[in-house]
Each structure stands twice: as C-alpha cells, then as structure tokens.
Amino acid sequence: MNIGSGSVLSSTGSWKSGDVVSDQFPVGLRVLVVDDDPTCLKILEKMLRNCHYEVTKCNRAEVALSYLRENKNGFDIVISDVHMPDMDGFKLLEHIGLEMDLPVIMMSADDSKDVVMKGVTHGAYDYLIKPVRIEALKNIWQHVVRKKKHESRDNNFDQSGSVEEGDRQQKQSEDVDYSSSANEGNWKNSKKRKEEDEEGEERDDTSSLKKPRVVWSVELHQQFVQAVHQLGIDKAVPKKILELMNVPGLTRENVASHLQKYRLYLRRLSGVSQHQNGLNNSFMGRPDATFGTMSSLNGLDLQAIAAAGQIPAQSLATLQAAALGRSATKSAICMPLVDQRNLFSFENSQVRFPEGQQQLTNSNKQIDLLHGIPTTMEPKQLANLHHPSQSFVGMNMQVNSMAQHNNSVIMRMSQSQPQMLSGANNGSQASRLPLSMQQSLSSEGIPGAVLAQSRIVDNARASVYNPVSQASSMVDFSVNQSKELQNYNFSLGSNSSGMSNLTNRGMLQEEANSDIKGSRGFPSNYDIFNDLHQPKSQNWGLQNVGSSFDSSHHPSIQGTQGVSSQLLLQQGISSTHNNGQNRNGPIGKSMYTNGEESGHTNLIGGPRLNSVSRNMLAVKAERFPDADYQSTNFPEQFGQDELMSAFLKQQGSVGPVETEFGFDGYTLDNLPV
C-alpha cells in the first residue's frame, strides 16, 4: 500500500508537514484517538502502535480539539468514539471537519443503522463497531490518502490557476500541501465519499476556476461574525460585511461564500433544536431535550421571522411537524452540544461554513455544476421532486427570497429534501416543492426557494427550525438573499431541477434533522444537484456566475447578482480552500485563531472548487446582492425546516441539522468498512 500512496503523497506534497517519506507511508501516520473509555483507549493505542502509527490519545473531546488546534498539521487522522460525556462524537466530527479538515473515523459499540447513518451524514470517513479489531485500524491510512488525493486534484487547479492574486496564489500553493489540499479534497471527500463523487470531483477539479482561496482563520472569522452581528443578521450583506471587516485582500466573494456557510451553520443549529423537540431519538435511545437551546440564535431568527411575518405559519408548522416527526432525534443529540457550545459551535459552524461550502461544492461537483461537469446525480430523483412540489413551491417561493446565502445550502438541502420529503413529510411534499417552486417561481419570484434556503440558514442560526424560527430564517435570507434567491430560483426555475433544489432544501432540513431522512436526502441531493446543475450549466453558466440567468429571469434582480454570484463562487471556492488551510488554525475559543494565516486572508481563489461548488457560489452570489424579498418567504419556512434538517443531516455536522450542507448525501463512502 505504500507504493501507490507514496506516489500520491509525493505529488501532493508532504502530507505530514513535509516529513513524510513516501515509501514509509503509512508508517508514522499521525493518529489522534479520542475515547472516554480508558480500556478502549489503551487498546486502541496499542493497536495503532502496532500498526506503526504515531498515536496520541486523549479521553476528552475538548482536549482533542485543542490538540488539533495547537498542532495544525500535527495529525493526519482522528478516531473518535461516538458517546462521550463532554461532547458528542458527531459534534467533534463536525468541528474537526470544519476547522481542520481532517478525516475522522467514528467508533461505537452501537451498530444500529441510525447511528451509522448519522456518522455518514456527518461526514465520518468510516465507522467502526466496537470492539475494534486491529485489522480495521490497519487500513485507516486509506482515508488519509484518499483525502489528499482529492485535495491535490484541487490544488493542481489552484496552483495552475488564476493569477489574479499572485501572492495569494502562492500562499495557496504553499498551503496546498496540507491544509488547502485538505480543504478541497476534504470537503469533497468528506461530503461525498461515493465513488461517483470522487469521480465527479476529479472532473470538476479540472474545470474549476482557479481562484485564490481565502483561509478563514479564527481571527478572520471573528471579525466576520462581529461584522455580521453589527449589521444584523438580516442585513448582513457581503459587501457591508466586507467593509466592516476591512481586511485587505478579502473579496466580497469570499465573504459571501463564508456568509452562506455561516447561515447554513446557523440553520443547522436551529434545525437541530427543532427536531429534537419533536423527535424521538431513536438513535440515541433516549429523549434528547436539549434541542431547544438555540436560544441566542433563536431570538434572532424569531424576530426576523416576525418581521417577515408573511410566511404562512401553518404551512411552516406543518412542514416542521412533519420534519420533526421525521427527523430522528439524532439531531437532538447534536443540538445540546450545539447549544451548549453556542459560542464554540457558532464559531465552529462558522468555520465550517467554508467547509460547508466545500461540501456544497463537492456535492455540486457531482451534480455537474455549471461547468458542465458530469453530474452523478440521478435525474430521476429530481423528477420526483419536481412533481410533487406544487404545494410547497408556493411556500418555498416565498422563502426563497430570503435565502440568498442559502442558495447553495438550499440547493443542497433541497436536493436531499426531495427525497426526504417524500419520505418524511408526505413524500409528496418534497417532490412537490420542487415542482411548485418552479412554477411559482416564475410567478412569485422564487421566494419559496429562497425561503427554503434562507430558512435553512436561519435555522442554523437560531433554532430557526421551529416554525417561528423558520420565519426568521427566512427573514435572514430576505435580507440579503431574497433577491438572490429569487434570482436563484428563477434560474432554477428555468431548470426544473433548480426548483427541486430549493424545495429540497426545505426538505433537507427535515432530513437533516432526522438521520433517516438523511438517507433519503442523499439521493435527492444528488439528484437535485444534478438536475439543478445540469440545466444550470445551460442556463446559468456558472462561470458567469449567475449573472446570466438571474438577470434574464428577474428583471428586478439587480445587476449585481451576476457579480455576486461570481464572487460567491470565488468565495465559495476560496472559503473551501480556506477551510482547509485554516483548519488547523488554533482556534481556541474563537473559531479561527490566526493560526497559520493569522489575519492573512488567504485569498486563494478556490479554483479547486468543482464547478459544482461554483454553482453553489453562483447561487449564493445571486442571493446576496440584494435580498429584498424577505417577506415572501414564509412558505419557505416549512420547506426550510425540512431543508434545514436535510441540510444539516447532509452536512453531517453534529446533528442532522448541523450537517454541513451537502454532507449527508455524500458521505456514503464513509460507511464502515
């Protein structure tokens, strides 16, 4: 196994901070193992040592995270137990994915399908059932190699790519060797472990734009959060955020994509809480009551929702109920963690955003984003989505306007949603959404989609999950996104698939919430994206970043949209890129510590992003520019919740809700060996 990996490693640069000796791989693989059970920990340590890996063990998740943050590039892979007293394993998984972009393997004595699925949706690279045998550990190196392989692909693009920011590019290249490549690859890898994903990603890489990627260090992220809060979550447009942050070299696109992720994260958070409320956590086997803790975020969203006020609460409520009912309580589990660590997770979520974006990108890749990358999604699923979505569409439409930033998120979500919805709500809902969305889009200007998306985002933000929150999420969107969403929707509308995406989003939420949904979401996500993207390529021409389609569809849409979409793309790309790079930044309490970049925004274009991601970015871009639609997104709430859940699930972040966007659908590869 050394042979192949060695060559891969060499080509991508040292995967061990330059220390790696390719032919010694995987000897010396640096593993961090986290488990609160001292017996298991000792056994694992011994097993890993016997595999000639370098082992660091720790029995607390927080300690593990601080190790990881202090030693960026100090580890190659993390193995973590699912049930730990101080932090849920999935939450840890999410944090690591977001901040450090390392492959994480989950372990548990629990081999129930729900839990395993949760691992998948959260992006675990593998899931081992205890008692773990040494044979299972011997092969963990494959996950590291695979990840790097994907990353290097991205890196290749980046490096050879845009020269717009020479310095950044260089930096990017430098970082590529570990973090950046990790980012890209990671995102893609983690999000979609499926072969198709990988293939798609590879293809995408070639076509992705090359833009310097911004590394969202902790400091940078903090600045970002401050700016967002200053502006108000609803009014936080990338342009203003950028101005407030006043970071040289940071582009609006970078901010936009990061914002999108951030919103997704918030959505996830809120979505999780919502789900927990109504769900029984089959997975956990115990009621999780923590779901409601999104408090801080909730307040925000609630107000937003109230402001928006138009979302038909009932529809949302219905959707939510459905979503909640469906989603497993897994999210519940996550929620507590999320809430408890509000600050932390918030940060994390922020960190994650880039990753989320990456994920999106990854998923997008498969979908064959505008760039025309062949999508691996199955069109038929989209078809499903399309059809049933009538009722939802209306709702989503409204919501859509809000979701600018969730565009990508929503897309993902919607993708997963359709499936979920069909499964979850009434089955038909999900599918209906897309369909209705499409139809209504033209007439209503997409609010639904936007809403759905925004909802997702909002949910993440502030337990938007609940009907109320849904509204808020929508509101959020509306601030910046409504406009974009609309645009987005429109374009989506043009592609039936697009619609489905949006609707899916809502569904996604639901899905996200329930692990079960996640599974459903997978296919839908894929499909949606496929559909979405496929037509998109025709319509959107991502490359152009939305300008093409938006403007065509929405006269109201300001010209900026096209621009923003582009920016978003870049941002998305850069964010994804950044993620990788920043991952290791010592975050400490704040999300991104300067770490390596410290204040140096690695504005490395994210050329590596797949066309898919770009699409996502484009979508986002559209949304951001001027979301005025806000109000109309209510119906979205419903969809959003579902989307959120789906999204979250997919994201695979802590809980279903928290899943990074697009996570769910793509982590199938991580199924336990």
């Binding site: 609160d36 059970d37 001292p38 017996t39 298991c40 000792k42 056994i43 011994k46 097993m47 016997n50 137990d81 049930h83 548990s108 004595a109 629990d110 205890k130 008692p131 773990v132 045998r133 040494i134 086997g285 115990r286 009621p287």
Partner: protein, 152 residues
C-alpha cells in the same frame, strides 16, 4: 524446563477453559496478540484498567437502580459504556448481560433491569476471579501460547 513446560501447559489449559466456558471471546485473543516484548503484560494491564473503570460504572448503576423512579436513559447510558469496555476485553458473558440489561431499560422493565444487573455482577465477579488466577499463572511464564523466549 520441565516445570516450565508443566506451567505452560497449565496456563494453556486455564486459558482454554476461559474460552470454552464462554467467559471470554475472540476479542481476548486480539488483546493477546497485541502483547509483545515491549509490553509483556499488556493483557493484564488492560484487564486491570477495565476492573477499575467498571467498578465505577457498577457503583453508578447500583446507585441509579435505587432511585425511584428509575431513570432508564441514564441507566442505558451507563450500560452502554459498560458494554463497550467489556466487549473491548472480550468479556463475553458480561457483555451478554449488558445487552439484556439495555433491552430491559428500553422496555422500561424495572424488575428485568434489576434482576439482570444482579446476574451481571455475578458474571463479572466470576470472570474477574478466573482472570486473576489465569494471570497469576500466565505472568511468570510470559505469553501463554507462545514461549517466544523463556527465562531459564
């Protein structure tokens, strides 16, 4: 040498009975295989660690079983941990009792839980004793199955 051979045979026979009587399963073999010259008493160390950790868990569960009403979620959680550790060392019978306990928990069966837990504690005590004897014999002889080198 003769003595060593006899000792070796005794140890081997003790070991075999552990398996035959179902006290330990193949995971125990995994632990044995991890033992090497660098860590000649690895298995015993791990098992000792298990005793310490599980004593704490048993105590917690005992206390929780005294509560009224029973907090099944908490009990399930404890037992999940206990099951994880016991399966890691290959404690077969104990693990079976853990699984039974968790089923009763999920069913909300108070008597079932209490009864199973008593049984679990018995199995745990028996296992502990048998392993103690085993290690006493096995320790001086080094690895039980393979006499990679035997001090004269």
């Amino acid at each position: 040498m003769e003595r060593n051979n006899n000792l070796h045979r005794q140890v081997a026979s003790l070991r075999q009975s552990l398996f035959d009587q179902g006290y330990v399963d193949e995971q125990f073999i995994e632990l044995e295989e991890l033992q090497d010259d660098a860590t000649p008493n690895f298995v015993e160390e791990v098992v000792t660690l298990f005793y310490n950790d599980s004593a704490r868990l048993i105590h917690n569960i005992d206390q929780s079983l005294e509560e009224h009403p029973l907090d099944f979620a908490k009990l399930d959680n404890f037992m999940h941990q206990f099951k994880g550790s016991s399966s890691s060392i290959g404690a077969k019978k104990v693990k079976i009792e853990c699984t039974k306990f968790m089923e009763y928990c999920r069913a909300g069966n108070v008597e079932g839980c209490k009864g199973t837990f008593q049984q679990l504690k018995r199995e745990y005590a028996v296992l502990r004793k048998k392993l103690e004897v085993y290690f006493q014999y096995a320790r001086p002889a080094g690895p039980t199955d393979t006499a990679s080198y035997r001090p004269k």
